[in-house]
Each structure stands twice: as structure tokens, then as C-alpha cells.
């Protein structure tokens, strides 16, 4: 079985759980940006959690299957359309398991909330592994090349369980953290979108910051235009203060690390972050908050909340 890509949209990347264990060679972990969404797609398809899915940025994606297939669309919320070979159209939504007949097309539109949609297929997407992983690492160019129109992707047989027939996310309820939600401010007056709260575990370099740094981080900032799988820069309400001005010697970093460069604008490392970084890290996002951040558009309001663990 194979999937022919008719339209790839702005970015379509093969991703799995990534390739941890090679950082000492300069290879970062990579893997799906919204891990929870990617894992959900595989789980409801009864497919091995280590199998690969497609990570689609801002939709605009169409594929055709040459054999009956079972797929799931998770992550960013938006319209999904299935068209059978006879031409009958059926609309669906993110968070459904869909059966496709041979010759059907599947179209994933631009999301209404969130930016990254995950397309899983029962059995997993089969491309050659590099260092044990099928993930595309956008920083170093490792792993399968970005998927483009005309590509034909093989489907594997990494099946571990029955698939969840008729499964769909109950009532289409959005998963927490996706997209800016319109809501009331804490004072009951606001009508703007409520900020997505990103949870930060302090350290390893929180001792290089004054206590006031956490107050600034707790104020509402915004996702800047510099946001990709390598990192997301946040335009803060005010520059985040540091105790010293200088850089520190480069040190090993993890996904979710909140670096504070000299200009005081936080940079949060994404899945394709460099193995090391040279700015002090005040704290590290929880993995849930890392997933949530990967779903935000530039301009989305965010605030950081310090958590003990």
C-alpha cells in the first residue's frame, strides 16, 4: 500500500519519536513537535508508538491512496475532506479515524486552531531510518527529506492492536493548549484571547536571574515570527532581566529550554534545537507545554508559569 501526495502544503515532514541517544555526536533528538498529538494518532490506529506519521504545517495537504487504508488526523483542528473514487465527498474533522477506499483522496485544510496537524496511517509511514529514526531533523538535514507533491510514501506493517473503529474525539472538544482561545481576562473585563500558559521548571541557570525575571515571564508576551522546529522566540512584555550580562560557555540543552539572550527575549528550544546553546536557561518547559507551544501561531499570547515540578 502506498500514499501518493498530490499537494504537500507549506511543510510536510515525516516524524516519529525522534533519535535520542546520539547527542554526543552532535545529533539532536528531533521527533514530532506535538508529541501528544502524534502519539494519539498512532494509538487510535493500533499502530506501534515508534512508527512514523506526517507532521503538516498549516494544512493545504492532499493525498490519494492506492489501496484501502485507515488513517487518523490529530493535532491542529480543522476541516478534513474525504472524496471517494466515485466522487462522493464526506467532511470530517481533526480527531477522527477514517477509512479510505482504494483511490480515495484525503484533504486536510488550513487549521482553525493550532498549526501542526498529524496524519497517521495504520501500519505507519515506511521510509528508511537514519540512526534508528524516521524523523526529519530540519536543523541538520538528517532523516527523510520534506515530503513534496508527487512523492509516493509506502505504508508499513507496524500494527500492534486493533484500530479504534468509529473513534473520534468526543464532541470535537479541543485539547488543552491549542491555539489562542477567546476568553475573559482575570479581571473579568478583557475580551482578547487568553494567553496560553506555559509551565516552566526552574533551572539549570535560574541562579543567573533576579527574582524579577519570573515576574516578567509571568506577564503576557507573544509568539514572534521567529518560530519553527528549531526554536520559538517570544516577544516578552518587557525584556527579561539577567544578573550578569555575558554569555556562558555553551552547554548541552534539551527541548523546551527557555534561553534568555542578552536582549531579554526568551527563545524556547524546539525538537530540532542545537545540541548545545550559549545563553543561560532560566527554566525548561514541561513536555506538555512544549507540545502546546508547537501549536501556536506568531502573535499568539503566551505567559510562563513557574512550577516546582
Amino acid at each position: 500500500m502506498s500514499l501518493m501526495i498530490l499537494r504537500a502544503g507549506p511543510s510536510a515532514l515525516v516524524q516519529d519519536l525522534g533519535r535520542p541517544g546520539h547527542a554526543s555526536l552532535g545529533v539532536t533528538a528531533s521527533g514530532a513537535a506535538d508529541r501528544a498529538a502524534a502519539a494519539l494518532a498512532l494509538r487510535c490506529l493500533g499502530t506501534h508508538p515508534g512508527a512514523a506519521v506526517l507532521e503538516l504545517l498549516l494544512g493545504g495537504f492532499v493525498l490519494m491512496t492506492d489501496a484501502p487504508a485507515v488513517v487518523a488526523v490529530t493535532g491542529a483542528r480543522g476541516l478534513v475532506v474525504v472524496t471517494t473514487p466515485s466522487g462522493s465527498r464526506r467532511t470530517a474533522a481533526t480527531g477522527e479515524v477514517l477509512r479510505l477506499d482504494a483511490g480515495s483522496t484525503l484533504e486536510i485544510g488550513r487549521p482553525d486552531a493550532g498549526v501542526r496537524t498529524y496524519l497517521g496511517v495504520r501500519g505507519g509511514i515506511e521510509v528508511p531510518r537514519v540512526l534508528g529514526s524516521r524523523s526529519r531533523d530540519t536543523l541538520s538535514g538528517l532523516g527523510p527529506p520534506p515530503v513534496v507533491a508527487g512523492d509516493v510514501l509506502a505504508v508499513g506493517d507496524s500494527v500492534v492492536a486493533p484500530w479504534a473503529d468509529h473513534w473520534h474525539a468526543a464532541g470535537g472538544a479541543p485539547r488543552g493548549g491549542i491555539g489562542p482561545r477567546v476568553g475573559m481576562g482575570s479581571d473579568g473585563r478583557g475580551r482578547g484571547p487568553a494567553p496560553v500558559v506555559l509551565e516552566v521548571i526552574p533551572g539549570p541557570r535560574d541562579d543567573l536571574f533576579p527574582p524579577g525575571a519570573w515576574q516578567v515571564l509571568a506577564e503576557t508576551g507573544h509568539v514572534s515570527g521567529h518560530a519553527d522546529r528549531v526554536g520559538v522566540r517570544i516577544d516578552p512584555a518587557r525584556p527579561v532581566p539577567r544578573l550578569g550580562g555575558g554569555e556562558i560557555p555553551s552547554e548541552g540543552m534539551v527541548r523546551g529550554a527557555v534561553q534568555i539572550p542578552a536582549d531579554g527575549s526568551p527563545v524556547v528550544f524546539g525538537p530540532d534545537h542545537p545540541v548545545t546553546g550559549g545563553y543561560p536557561v532560566i527554566g525548561v518547559l514541561t513536555s506538555r507545554s512544549s507540545d502546546a507551544l508547537s501549536q501556536l501561531l506568531p502573535g499568539a499570547p503566551v505567559s510562563f508559569r513557574r512550577v516546582s515540578e
Binding site: P20, G21, H22, A23, S24, L25, G26, V27, A29, V130, L131, S140, G141, L142, I201, P202, G203, P204, R205, P249, S250, E251, G252, M253, V254, G256, A257, P274, V275, T276, V281, G283, V284, L285, T286, S287, E309
Partner: protein, 269 residues
Amino acid sequence: MTTTRIRRCGEAALLLDCADLAEAVALAGRVEHLRPEAVDVVAAARTVLVTARDASAVPALRRRVENLLAQGPPRHPAQDPGEVAQDVAQEVAQAAVREVVLDVRYDGPDLAAVADLVGVSTEALVRRHTSITWRAAFGGFAPGFFYLVDERELEGSAGVRSDGGGGAGVGSAGGDGDAIEGGGGSSGGVAEPLPSVPRLGSPRPRVPAGSVGLADRFCAVYPGASPGGWRLVGTTDAVLWDSDRPDPALLAPGDRVRFRAAGPRDPTR
């Protein structure tokens, strides 16, 4: 006794804060033995990052790291017969260190500038660069990119080494090492170290693959074309990274690296 401090780094990692590069590199070598619980071990200039599989695996990993630190620093000189066995084990580990020889054409655009900075002729700079025994201290900038440091720097603070004086002079490990000309005979086989080299004021937008660069007290070879601010002294045809090889990275942490002047382009290539 140790100067290392354990810092929390998110849900699933610890950052070990060391006194200096020598301690970090030595510690990283020991933490490597904590795999598979230690998923990733990233040495850097003064730290070692250790990641666990997930948050639930951190407490156990932390205990193992604490136990390791409680054993004291590695390469501790033998004080009593009881420590001899440990010392022998370290000798064996030392003997297992790989030595990699890289042929270099010293044709880099910054060769003359670096020689000026060091205060020697370009020929003398090349002699010095080829007579130093480098050590792959840590990776990080890109796949296969290694920060190489003069081996003697790793011996600095970690106490006296008793490995028979092979150390920084002419390679004594046999094999490829025999082919190396040691210091041009002018320095009695002991290479003078290189001074710290500042990075370019503005990085080059594109540094070709195989470029041999110097920055700070490190030397490195660019595995692929990339932007870079290191001062380039030469070029090697060695392939530092190839995803299709069983071991994609030519170098690994701890490897000894020597550079050999290859002269102008090899006519057989």
C-alpha cells in the same frame, strides 16, 4: 571529593556543573557507562548534560550519578595498592582510545592571519598544528562536528597522569601514528601549545565542508557546509559525517586526532 554540582534541567535531564573542561570531559566518559539509563550524555566546556528516558527515570539516574561522583574524580593517582587495580583499568581504557589521522592541505583563508596572531611563520604554524595531539572533547554544533582540544589541556586539573609519558608528544600508539612527523624535529618531540584564537568578528555565511578551523582554544573540522566564525587554516578530504556509514561520525568523544600536512592537492585523487 568533587567540585561537580547537579542541576535540574527540566522533567527528564540533569546538568552536571564542572570546574573546567578537563573535569567535564573526564566525567562525561564515566557517565557514558551509565547508559542505557543515561540516554544522552553531552559534554561541553564546563558541563555534562545527562538525559533520562522520561521524568520517572530521573530519580534513579540521579542516584547513579551521585554514586559515581562519590567515587571521586577519575585518573586519580594511585595512593595505595588498593587503588592499583582501578589504575590498571584506566590504563586499559586509555589504550583503547582510537587515534585518527586527518590529512590536511594548509590552504585556509585565515592561515597567514593566524600565524601572525601566534607570531610565527605559516610553516611553523603548520608544524605546530600537526605536532599537537588533539582530543575530541565534545560534539555539538552539527552532526559530526567535534571540538578538538590539545590533549595536555585535559590533563591540567585532573591530577598527575601515569600513562608512561606517551601523552602529548609523538604518537606512540603504533599503527597510523608512526607515519607522523613529530614537530619537525625542532622541539625535541614536544609541541608548543597554540594560544587562544579569537573567532571572526563576523561569521562567514558559508564555510565549505572539510574546512579545518581554530577558535578559542579549540580546533574543529566542519562536517558539512554551514555558516561559521572559526578561523580557517586548511582543508581535509576526510568525510566527517556520512549518514550511510554504519558509524556516520568519523570521530567520537575521546578520540585522539592528529593532523598531517598533505601538501597541495593529492594528484592521485
